[in-house]
Every structure is written in structure tokens, then in C-alpha cells.
Symmetry: C2
Subunit: 695 residues, 2 copies
């Protein structure tokens, strides 16, 4: 049996290597595409440099943060160093660092490729939609392949070396803490720049959105890559690692067949990566085909391939269960369905966006009320979908024996995340073609090229809504299985100390209930802190822009020799975003610890549940309402309800401004907040199991 | 022991009679106050007639609705009529009707008195703040006394006659279904009129808010009474009855001492009413004292009296427990503390309102973002407070034996609601002095009188925030104990059919989890339906106003012989509000039933929990954000951040418009939605215990 597992470790590393090789091929392919327009080369260079500035500033701060955490882990986890063997502690600290480093590498390379692809995609659009699409998609695919490759590689390597799933929690926590910086920090960064550029440029100076005189304009363009490429990548790296980790933790606690079950987790991870490689390699559009269809059909192809491959694996490998296959398949299918329902609420060819645009005719208050209402309603299908998939996975796997039902849920999460390579590719495609559209305009590539770039961009927006719904739901299922992992960890400690293991978290138990209510309020406060953080940080950047206009002679007048200091703005956005993020992250973590100390392990279980429930609700609400407002504004700008410049347009713009930090800062960061908190709980399970005031 | 209980039945009825007598005295006292100004008499008469129109329309529709439900109850509850003794079914149907009728009477009389008090309070303001305050306060107190008197009387009478707490659930459900109409329907009514009056009056015609030419203007004034007097009264009647009912249901299921425990519930109810009577009778302000202090100090006096009286009762009555007294006291104190923290977020002398007003200088999007953020944050103290009081009550009562811990929580809810007579008095005071202020202006009572009326009004707004936080939290504790009542009911059925009783709702059980996720999405969808309903209904009224301006000759020009048809607008607001409300209410109820049929009793337990958690979060968020925006606007209008007419003012007005349906329609209706769903679950517990697809 042990050998069986070693086979999958080996295969994991092999397939990850293939994914890396394929990513390298795509990288070289993208780099070879022609880029001749001088204006595009110049601006794309500025964006690339800006992204690099951001990355180096961010990683510098992160290195300090990760270093401190690593030392804390070394001293205290899995148990205080003076009580445990030192190798466990070293193992966990090292795997924590490995988690942050792998995620950072994937993010760094992803942004690098994205910033190479945007200009080339714009230039290719001169020749038609087909080559332009391919460059945008393949640029994004590098990130997708890297993220999944790194997660499969990392999980396999850590487990192979240390053999203990608890240590894997350290790796997952590393991935999570980086995701918190990349996603929430990146979200604050991108909206800081956006808001500051708009307030000073459009409002105060009356210059266009992309006017290069504005010192914030490069930061604004960098922001798209930072939030959607690096942020989304780190977020899904985090979810994918967490899903595999929790499945493995639960699998190791199962009586009998543990190795087969761990093998299955790796097998599904590997086959998901393989399916994504095939899906990416075959993605194409016809000469005049629709890019949206191309993106969606690649997703469906990947889904189909994954299901067939896992079915074959289940058929051929002894000890693989069809029930587990069923659970994973349910997870995957529900993920796709949730993506489609999300699309219904945010797509401007569907009725909801039109209703919101129509409400804007009565004024901005009605835009807001309409968006808030439909945002609330939109959370329901996804909540129901997650509920059904968890229930179905549980019921399918329950007959396998005690503990298998929860394992089934964790495999539904693994299944939902199996095609994550494809999802990230689609998602990273968005900001690339978004930038390409801007560059096509700046480079004067002509009307037809801009029209093509527009079409590519619009496909990116549509697909983005789907991938966002998907990633929130995947995080939802993952954290449910993390709850299972938490219980396994607590019980391991309880049994080791001779105490009775806990059998569950009863909501009629007031310590559990206590935890639930407090846990439910955390995502609300966390979101609020991020949104307020964007505001504060934007004010800092506005002050810097004012300084530059005052001190740099000729800048305001457009004197070509007067260069704005773009780097200063990027610096402010970076440092400020981390400064605003850290209190929000600490608040969540300290609340977890406080609840645990007051109410013990059961209160923490309740806390995690409350956190998941209100987190999912608010994340879905904010992401979808934000997407809805964004597309309503675009719908009005396309000439409906009075078109550009009308009162409805002004109202729709206000809706969009409210929606921006909803959908790009707070909403998608909640995922990460929930995962971080769940992992902190699992890591500290020994403490909560041993001591509490009322528990 | 039975005799002991009879004593409390008798006392309940006696004290309720004293409360009614005192209310009658106050009614006569208010009616005797002079009212001479002809203009005030005329407008106050229009408002009174409008309120009557609303009441008769609403009660007509309600009677049909209640009749249908009563027949359904008669046929199917507590168990199908062909399986049970017919007397239980008749008892439950009759007590259901009694619940609706008592609530309706309290609402009707309350509105009647409020509409007598407003003009008299305005006129008394000529003589100074002291008499004007007293009329406003005593007018509101009639409602407070009636609501609590009716609830104590009703619960005692039903239980005395039928002796079975399950039948009491029918009475409580009657109170809840009326509250749903009064609170949510009233909420839609008031905002429909408000929005339609603003859109046609201020925006289209450029006439003042209270211009009598506008056919919607009386509906708008009626709305304040409908929402805040009748709605709030029905809401707290509902909570109070539900708290007592669930405490009694749980007490009856306790082994040993059940009668003592039921006696304690009545004793606390009676003493709370007595304390409120004393508090109301002694409420005064000095000649130049502050009305806010007068209102708050009456609340503190009532709280103190209640604690002393219940301590004496515990000391003197054999079998009364100090632990239960502790639980009730914790509930009451936490209620007061939550009220104070709510005040911090919505009072314009505190920093949060100022920050939101300051954000308005950057435009309406920032007003919204600031309000949403602080609204989110404001939910936390109340959630933590409820969590702590539930945990403390549980821990205090746990040593008394199995089942007592949950009984402790239900007594914390009873304790929190004990001073509800005082709370309602304070709350109903608000719209009375609000109307008085408008009437003082219309009646040209002079600057000094208007200044006094202003001061009274502002005290009403401040106190309103506190009472809203209080009532949401009380509902929170009540529904927790309703969850306990639900489990008692399910187990009674399971034991009767020879099955194993359930011991709790484990969140790791996927049917529970399934319920939780779906339950959590219901308050979001319910709120969205109400908000969208306001919008749709307002459009209907706008169409009617346009018709009248077109068809009634001379109306637009202000010809005194051209009378607008105020009643038509009131009619539209009434019928439309019920039309919009019913789908939202049905959605909640049908979702409960669907979850029960799919997942059984455990799923319903989870559903109720999810509903409570997200309901509390959203109710607190919406109420507080709405209050914050309202007061930010007032703060700007008082001359800050640019004052009236500035850009900041325009932005603050948009915030206030968004906040209106948040705080007056959706937010406070969620309480009622949660209670209705909890009672439906308890009523149908036999069905869920007997049959489900996956349970």
C-alpha cells in the first residue's frame, strides 16, 4: 500500500513537471510574438516596471511577515518546541515557508507573462481575432498551469518528505497567508489606484482616464494585473492546496484504506491538472468565432476529460471507490452550474442588468437599491448549490463507513477545484485583454483592431463573473472540509491526552452557538475594514498626486520633459494596502484565538461555521452586486436608458464606484479570510483542546 | 402546585386589567388636552382618517388571510383532524385567531391615540417643553401598555383554558402573522408613500415636502404612524408572546418543577408590566430638562424596578430559582448595553455619523461605502452581546439539571423583553412628536414653539436607534429559545411514536449543514423582495398622482376648491404593500417546508439557525446603516460639511434615500420573518419528525 502511495507522489511530481514545461513553452511562444508599435512598447514597459515595483515592495514586506510567522511556528507548532520533537517544528516551519514561496513564484511569473502578453495581443488584433485571442489566453494559461502545478507538487513533496498530514497544514497556511496579501492587499491596491486616478484626473483636472500626465495612471493599470492575475492565482492556489490538505488530513484519520484514500486525493489532483493541460492545449476559436464560446467550451471540455479520466482511474486502480468518484463529480458539476447562475445576474444580455440600468433613471439611490437587492437574491442559488453538493457528497459516501461522509465532502471540494487550472487561465485572460484594449487605443491601431480588442475584453468580463462565482463556491466547500479537518485534529489531541473525542458541534450547545454568532460577524467587519482601507489609502495617493503637480514643473501643462514619478504612486498603493490589510487580517486571527480561549474547541467549531455561512453570503452578495453595477454602467454606456452623459449614466457610474471595492476588494478577499481562519484554528487545535475558560 | 400556577394566571389577568385601566386613563387624559388651532385640527383629522383607511383596508385583507390560515390549522394542526381529538384543533385555530385579534386591537388603539396626541402635543409646545413632552410620551405609552397587557393576558388566558403549551404556539403564530403584515407591510407602505411623494412633489413639481396639493402627502404622514406605532407595536407584541411561549414550551418539557418554572415565566411577565406601569407613571422632565434624558432615565428606572421586584419574588416564592433570576437579569442588562452601542453608530454627536458626513464630500458613492462599512461593523457589538448573554444564561442555569440551560436562555429573552412596555412607549413617542413638529409648522405656532417641537423630535430619533437595536437583539434571543422549543416539540412527537429523541443539531451532520446554508440565504432574499416591492409600489402611486393632477381641474394650480383624493393614494399604498409582502412571506414559509421535507427535522433545525444568524447580521446592518445615513444627512443639514444645498448634502440625501427602505422596511421586518419561520417549524414539527426524503 505504501508503494501505491509512492507511485502517486512520483506521478504528482512528474505531471507537475510536465505542466511547468508546457507553461515554459507557452511563455516562450508568447514572447516570440511580434511587438513593434513604439507607443505600445513604451506604455507596456511602464506597466511591467510598475508591476515589478509592486511585487518587490510587496514581497519585501511579506518576507518579514512570513519570517516572523515561521519563527512562531518553529517555537510553538505543532506543539511547543520544549514539549515536542524538534523535527516536527522544523518541518512545519519549512513547509510554511515553502507554501508562501511557491505561491509567490506562481504569482510573480504569472504577472510577468501577463505583462508580456497584453501588448502582443493588441498588436495581433490587427491580424484578426484568432491570433489575438490565442495570445491573451495562452498568457493567462501560464499562470493557470503554474498555480496548479505548484500546488500538486508542493502537497506531494511535503507529504512525501514528512509523511504527516498535520505538517501539511503548515504548507497550506503558508499558501493562505500569501493569498491574504495578494488578494486582499492586491484588492486594496487596485482600487486605491483606481479611485485616486479618477478623483484627481477625471474630477479635478478634467483629463481622460488614461492620461499619462496623471502619476496614478500606471498604478491603475498595474492594479488590474495585481488584483486579477496575481490575486486570483494566489487565491485559487490557496483553495486548491487547502482542499487537498483537508482531504488528506481527513483521509489519514479514517480507519482502514487511509492510503488508498490519500492516493485518490493525489490521483484526482493529477488528473485535474492533466485535463487542464489538454483543455488549454486545445483551446481555439474559429476565424470569426466567439471568444466567450471558446473560453466556455474549453471549460466544458476540461470538465468532461476530468470525469472520464477519473472514472478510468477508479475502474483500474484497486481500492478506488466509485462513491468517491460520485462525490467529486457532484462537486465539479455543481461548480459549473453555480458559475452559470452567477452569469445570469451579471451578464448584460440577461434581464437583471437591464433592470438595474432602468432603475438608474430614477437616480443613484435606486441604482444602489436595485443592485443591493439583486445582489442579495443572487446569493441564494449558489448557497443552495453548495448545500446540495455537500449533502449529496455526504450521502453518497456515508455507506463507506464512519468518517467517510466528511471525506466525501472534501472530495467534492477537490472535484470542484480539479479544473482550477482552466479556471485561472480564463480568469487571467481578462486583465490581459483588458490592458490590450487600452494599449490598442493608445497605439492608434485603428477602429477594426479596437473593435476586436473590445470583443475579446467583453468575453473576459463575462467569463470573470463565472469564475468568481466558481471560486467562491469552491472555497465554500473547501472550508466545510477544513471544518472536518479541524475536528480530526482536535480529536487527535484529545485522544492523545486520554480525553473523550468530540463527536460534533451541536448548535444547541451554547459554546458552539456563542462561536457561531461571533464568527458570523467577522466577515462583515473584515469587509468593512478593507473598504474603509481603500478610502484612506486613496486619500494618501491623492495627496501625493497633488504634491507632484505642484513640485514637478511643466507636468500639469503636459511638457514632454516633465515626467511624473509613477513609482511613488505605486509605492504608496503597495505600502498603504498592506498597512490597511494587516489590522483586518489580525482582527480575524485574534478573534479566532479569543473565541477558542473563551469557549474551547467547540466554540471554535461554531466560529468557523458562522464565518463560513456569513462569509459565503457576503462574498456572493458583494461580488455579484459589484459585477451587476459594472455591467449596468456598460449597458447604459452602450446607448441604453439615455446613454453616456445622461442622468441614468451618472447614476450608473455611482453604482459602479460603490461596486468596485465590493467586487474587487472585499468580496473576493472573504474567501481567503475564511481559509486563513480555518487553518489557524486547525494549527492551534492542541491549544483549544487543552484549555479554555468556559469550554 | 397547580394552585400556585392558577395564582399567576389570576395575577396576570389582574395586572393586565390594571394596565388597560391605566391606558384608558392616559387616553382620556390626552383627549382632554386642548386643541384649538383650526389648521392643525384639519390636517390632524386628515392624517387620522388616512390611518383609519389604512387600518380598515389592511384588516379586511388580513381577515381573509387569517381565516384561510385558521381553517388550515383547524384541519391539520397540531395533527390532522382525522387523527387527533377535534378539540386540540379547535383550540389551536381559536388561539391563532385570538393572537391576531389582540395584536390588531393593540395596533388600532395605538394608532388612534397617536393620531390624537400629535396635534395636542404641538399646541402644548406653546406653553413649554414640559407639557408637550408629556402628551407625546403618554400618547405613546397607551400603545406600550396595551401591547404588553394584551400579551400577558393572552398567554395566560390561552394556557389557563387549554393547559397545553403546544396550543400556545398557535396564539404566538397569530401574533407573528399579524406582525408580518403590520411591520413588513407597514414598512412597504410608509416607504412607498415617502418615495412617491418625493419623486412627484420635490422632483417633478418642485413643491415642498408637505404641500397639501400632493395627493401622496397624507399617505406619507400616515406612513410614520403605520410603520413606527402599529408596526413596532405588533413586532414587539410578537417577540414578547414568542419569548413567553417558547419559555413555557421548554418549561413544560422539563423534568420536575415544571409548574414552578411556568409560574416564573408569568411572574416575570407580570412584574415587567408592573415595572413599566411605574416607569410610565413617573416619567417627567423638568421645566428646561432634556427629553432624551427623561426617556432614557425612565428606561433605567423601569429596569431597576424590574430587577428589584423579581429579586423579591425569587426570595419570597418557594421554588423560584436565583439562577433563573440571574439569567433574566443578564438578558435585560445586555439588552440595555446593546441599545447604547447602537446609539454610538447612529447618534450625530458621536464620531461615526460625522465620518460618514465627511465622506459625502467626495460624492455619493463614498457616502454609500462609508455607511455600508460602518453598518457592517455596527453589527458586531450586538452579535457579541447576544452571544455572551446566551452563553452566560446557559452556564448560569446548567447546574439546575438537564434542559434547564436552554430554559435559562429563554428566560434571558423574557428578561430582555420584560421592559418592553417602556420600550414601546419610547418608540411610539417618536412619530407622535415627529408629526407634532410638522403640525406646529403648518399651524404657524411661532418660532419658539417649533424649536421646542424640534427638540422633542430629535430626542425621538435618538431614542429610536436604541429601541431598534434593543428589539432586534430581543428577537435574536427569542428565536434561540424558539429553536429550543422546536426541539422540544420534535422530541415530543418522536417519543410519542416510539422513536429516539434527537439530542441536538450537529453542524457536521450534512442535513443540518444543508439547512443552515439555505436558511442563511432566506433573510437576504426576503429583504431584497421587500426593497424591490417598495420600488414597484411607489411606481404605482406615482402613476395615480399623475392621473389626479391630470384629471382634477385646478389641483396643480392650488385652487382651494380642487381637493386631491388622498384616500386613493392610501388605498394604493395599502393594497400594494400587501401584494408585495405576500410573496416574500410565502417564500420564507415554503422554503421552511421544502427544507423540512427534503432533510427532516434536523435540516429544519439548521435552517432556523442559518436564518437567525444571517437574519441578525442583516437586520443590524440595515437598521444601523439606515439610521447612520439619516442622521448624517441631518448633520449636514445642520450646517456641517457645506450644509444644505452643497454637494455633500446631495450625496447625503442619496445615502438617506438608500437607507430609508433599509431601516424602515427590510431591516426591522427580518425579526418578524425569523419568528414566523421558527413558529411554522414548531407547528409543523410532527410532519418533519415523521417524514423526510434524506433526513
Amino acid at each position: 500500500m505504501e508503494q501505491h502511495l509512492s507511485l502517486f507522489y512520483g506521478l504528482s511530481i512528474l505531471i507537475a513537471a510536465i505542466a511547468f514545461a508546457f507553461a515554459a513553452y507557452l511563455y516562450v511562444w508568447v514572447k516570440r510574438q511580434p511587438l513593434e508599435n513604439q507607443k505600445i512598447i513604451e506604455v507596456a514597459g511602464l506597466i511591467r516596471n510598475g508591476a515589478n515595483t509592486f511585487m518587490s515592495r510587496e514581497y519585501k514586506i511579506l518576507a518579514v511577515f512570513a519570517g516572523v510567522i515561521a519563527v512562531l511556528i518553529l517555537l510553538f507548532l505543532p506543539s511547543p518546541i520544549w514539549k515536542s520533537d524538534i523535527f516536527s517544528n522544523i518541518g512545519m516551519a519549512v513547509s510554511y515557508i515553502a507554501g508562501t514561496v511557491l505561491s509567490a513564484i506562481a504569482g510573480k511569473v504569472g504577472i510577468l507573462v501577463a505583462s508580456l502578453s497584453n501588448g502582443r495581443s493588441a498588436e495581433a488584433a490587427k491580424k484578426g481575432i484568432k491570433p489575438a485571442f490565442l495570445i491573451g489566453f495562452r498568457g493567462g494559461a501560464v499562470m493557470g498551469l503554474l498555480v496548479v502545478g505548484c500546488s500538486v507538487l508542493g502537497v506531494a513533496a511535503v507529504l512525501w518528505i514528512v509523511g504527516d498530514a498535520s505538517i501539511l497544514l503548515g504548507f497550506s497556511f503558508g499558501a493562505s497567508s500569501l493569498a491574504l496579501f495578494a488578494k486582499a492587499g492586491g484588492g486594496i491596491f487596485t482600487k486605491t489606484a483606481d479611485v485616486a486616478a479618477d478623483l484627481t484626473g477625471k474630477v479635478e483636472l478634467g483629463i481622460a482616464e488614461d492620461d499619462p500626465r496623471n502619476p496614478a495612471v500606471i498604478a491603475d493599470n498595474v492594479g488590474d494585473n495585481v488584483g486579477d492575475v496575481a490575486g486570483m492565482g494566489a487565491d485559487l492556489f490557496d483553495s486548491n492546496v487547502a482542499a487537498m490538505t483537508s482531504a488528506i488530513v481527513i483521509a489519514q484519520s479514517l480507519a482502514g484504506g487511509a492510503y488508498n484514500n490519500v492516493s485518490m486525493v493525489f490521483c484526482y489532483g493529477i488528473l485535474g491538472l492533466l485535463a487542464s493541460i489538454i483543455g488549454i492545449a486545445t483551446a481555439r476559436i474559429g476565424k470569426n468565432g466567439s471568444p466567450t464560446n471558446a473560453l466556455n467550451s474549453s471549460t466544458y471540455v476540461t470538465t468532461g476529460i476530468f470525469m472520464v479520466l477519473t472514472a478510468l482511474a477508479t475502474y483500474f486502480f484497486p481500492g478506488f471507490s466509485w462513491r468517491i468518484w460520485g462525490a467529486a463529480t457532484v462537486g465539479l458539476l455543481v461548480g459549473v452550474i453555480i458559475g452559470i447562475t452567477t452569469d445570469y445576474f451579471t451578464d448584460d444580455s440577461k434581464p437583471i442588468v437591464k433592470k438595474c440600468a432602468n432603475a438608474s433613471k430614477s437616480g443613484p439611490a435606486f441604482t444602489i437599491l436595485s443592485g443591493v437587492s439583486y445582489g442579495f437574491i443572487s446569493s441564494m442559488p449558489a448557497m443552495v448549490g453548495i448545500a446540495i453538493s455537500a449533502l449529496a457528497a455526504y450521502k453518497i459516501c456515508e455507506p463507506m463507513g464512519p468518517g467517510y461522509a466528511i471525506f466525501g465532502i472534501s472530495m467534492a471540494a477537490v472535484g470542484m477545484l480539479s479544473i482550477v487550472g482552466m479556471i485561472i487561465s480564463n480568469d487571467a485572460y481578462g486583465p490581459i485583454v483588458d490592458n490590450a484594449r487600452g494599449l490598442a487605443e493608445m497605439g492608434d491601431l485603428g477602429e477594426e483592431t479596437i473593435r476586436i480588442a473590445d470583443e475579446l475584453d467583453s468575453a473576459g468580463n463575462t467569463v470573470k463573473a463565472v469564475t468568481k462565482g466558481f471560486s467562491i463556491s469552491a472555497a465554500g466547500l473547501t472550508v466545510i472540509s477544513l471544518l472536518g479537518a479541524f475536528m480530526s485534529e482536535v480529536n487527535a489531541h484529545l485522544i492523545a491526552s486520554g480525553a473523550e473525542p468530540i463527536t460534533g458541534f451541536d448548535i444547541m450547545d451554547p459554546t458552539v452557538f456563542f462561536g457561531i454568532l461571533i464568527g458570523a460577524s467577522i466577515p462583515a467587519v473584515f469587509s468593512a475594514m478593507l473598504i474603509l482601507g481603500v478610502d484612506k489609502n486613496a486619500q494618501r495617493m491623492v495627496a501625493e498626486i497633488h504634491r507632484q503637480f505642484k513640485e514637478i514643473v511643466g507636468l500639469r501643462e503636459g511638457d514632454p520633459s516633465a515626467k511624473p514619478e509613477y513609482d511613488k504612486c505605486i509605492d504608496i498603493a503597495t505600502t498603504g494596502s498592506l498597512r490597511e490589510l494587516i489590522p483586518a487580517g489580525l482582527m480575524s486571527i485574534l478573534a479566532t484565538i479569543a473565541v477558542g480561549i473563551i469557549g474551547g474547541a467547540k466554540a471554535v467549531g461554531g466560529f468557523l461555521l458562522g464565518n463560513i455561512v456569513s462569509g459565503l453570503l457576503l462574498a456572493l452578495f458583494m461580488s455579484n452586486a459589484g459585477g451587476l453595477w459594472d455591467n449596468s454602467k456598460k449597458y447604459v454606456e452602450a446607448g441604453n436608458e439615455g446613454g453616456k452623459g445622461s442622468e441614468a449614466h451618472k447614476a450608473a457610474v455611482i453604482g459602479d464606484t460603490v461596486g468596485d471595492p465590493f467586487k474587487d476588494t472585499a468580496g473576493p478577499s472573504i474567501n481567503t479570510q475564511i481559509t486563513v481562519v480555518s487553518l489557524v484554528a486547525s494549527l492551534l487545535s492542541a491549544v483549544f483542546a487543552a484549555f479554555s475558560i468556559f469550554g
